[in-house]
């Protein structure tokens, strides 16, 4: 069995957190360029130009793209043939967050006692950790810092099965409409359909890791993503919410079977600072 020291996971989390907050993915940069060409609003084009310039500046000067460097959402896909040694895994991940956010001059945005004293934990821990056991002897580490503005506009609906596709699409579009200018549009709309309450929310979050511009391999869901995107872009919200035809960057759906009584629909909104980086150990 392959042994892997958890110190390597600490190092990876620290490095990926800084990289994610500083280097916007090429898929997003390409999107800004294309969207600036087709956006009808002059103000909208100007905003998209600013976002391109911001991404370049962040990359060139190693400054975070956005001051909200988020809570540290970490996904670990752990091969079942790996034996983790050298300490406790969750502690190692938190140590990576502490190191990355500290040495990388990222903002510490975590507060303990969230409905009371709201005291900053000082090092952006704990990580919001999701682990999955998968075949193989590798460990995939994904760090996806998530800002508060877009997260706050997210929603979950435990809809009635009778509401069907129309009800689900209406709920998703309505969530985007209500969010309006608040979550830093253009946004990515992550959707989780079915499963249980928590699985729906997890799928909505996990879907945000997909590459912008990619097509859902399931044709039924790909068509649904297109329909939702079209309806959201017709809302007129536009870049920075100042009006325009670019409200949504992409729509990503993940799906699971649901209980015979349930139709969960989760919507996780991602701002245009769509940050995630990964490494395989």
């Amino acid at each position: 069995m392959r042994e892997l020291d958890v110190a390597r996971i600490t190092e990876a989390v620290a490095k990926l957190a800084v990289e994610a907050c500083t280097y916007l993915g090429d898929d997003m940069v390409d999107f800004f360029k294309k969207a600036a060409e087709r956006e009808e609003s002059e103000t909208g084009r100007d905003i998209l130009g600013q976002l391109l310039e911001n991404a370049k500046l962040a990359r060139d000067t190693n400054m975070p793209l956005c001051q909200d460097t988020g809570l540290a959402v970490v996904f670990l896909e752990i091969g079942q043939d790996v034996h983790l040694v050298g300490g406790d895994l969750e502690t190692a991940v938190d140590e990576g967050v502490r190191k990355g956010y500290g040495e990388g001059y990222l903002r510490k945005s975590a507060v303990a006692d969230p409905i009371g004293a709201r005291v900053n934990t000082g090092d952006n821990t704990p990580a919001m950790l999701h682990t999955r056991i998968v075949p193989g002897d590798k460990v995939k580490v994904i760090v996806a810092p998530k800002g508060g503005g877009a997260e706050n506009m997210s929603a979950i609906g435990m809809l009635k099965p009778s509401q069907g596709i129309q009800g689900a699409v209406d709920f998703i579009v309505d969530t985007v409409s209500k969010a309006g200018p608040n979550p830093c549009p253009p946004i990515i709309v992550g959707v989780g359909l079915g499963g249980t309450f928590e699985k729906a929310a997890y799928m909505a979050k996990h879907s945000l890791l997909r590459k912008v511009g990619s097509t859902n391999p399931e044709p039924r869901l790909a068509a649904l993503e297109d329909e939702i995107e079209k309806r959201c872009n017709a809302l007129g919200i536009g870049p920075a919410g100042l009006g325009g035809i670019t409200s949504v960057i992409d729509v990503f759906i993940e799906e699971l079977p649901a209980h015979i009584a349930s139709m969960p629909v989760a919507v996780n909104i991602q701002c245009h600072s769509a940050r995630h980086k990964e490494a395989v150990l």
Binding site: C66, Q67, L106, N182, C184, L235, I237, C271
Partner: protein
């Protein structure tokens, strides 16, 4: 219209402004977000003096990333303003003239803008690296214990904002969106 302005803001200047106007702001502005606002308004409610004089001033809703050695400030874009809706009217009633943030304000804030001759300004959310270039000096002036949420005095040069809510009830988010809203064939 486009204006260059140096703080503090006068009533005469604010009377000229309409939703959609662009401003380049220079001079001193103050930072503050949720935790700092909560403390400021607690002082207002007790009738005690504030650590900063808000009269004629602008508060920028921002919690920057830490400055690296040699930097003035880290990434410094606007946070969502709606969370300050519960506090802003009380500061506007004390003479605060401008707020910079992103996202919609509620009716109570818009009413407070009207009765006090004040404006709500939008900076581009998520452009924190770009906006930080327009900040030439920064120092913490209150609530250092709040870390990123401490109140800072910033010196800015041509800081770019757009008027979202003017003192006449204009709302750029509503007007801009209406212009591009369209039906979808389904």
């Amino acid at each position: 219209m486009e204006y260059k302005v140096t703080t503090p803001l006068s009533d005469e200047f604010i009377e000229k402004l309409h939703a959609g106007d662009r401003l380049l702001i220079s001079g001193i502005i103050y930072t503050g977000r949720d935790a700092a606002h909560k403390r400021l308004v607690a002082l207002v409610d007790k009738g005690e003096p504030l650590p900063i004089d808000v009269k004629g001033q602008i508060i920028y809703f921002v919690g920057p990333t830490p400055a690296k050695p040699g930097e003035v400030i880290g990434s410094a874009g606007p946070t969502t303003s709606g969370r300050m809706d519960a506090y802003s009217p009380k500061l506007l009633d004390l003479g605060l003239k401008g707020m910079i943030g992103k996202g919609s304000r509620n009716d109570a804030v818009k009413e407070a803008l009207k009765r006090n001759k004040a404006v709500y300004l939008g900076a581009t959310g998520g452009a924190g690296a770009l906006l930080s270039q327009r900040i030439t000096a920064a120092k913490v002036v209150a609530y250092e214990d709040l870390g990123p949420e401490a109140i800072r005095e910033l010196e800015v040069k041509d800081f770019p904002v757009v008027v979202i809510n003017d003192m006449y009830g204009g709302d750029l988010y509503v007007e801009g969106r209406k212009q591009y809203e369209r039906g979808v064939d389904s």
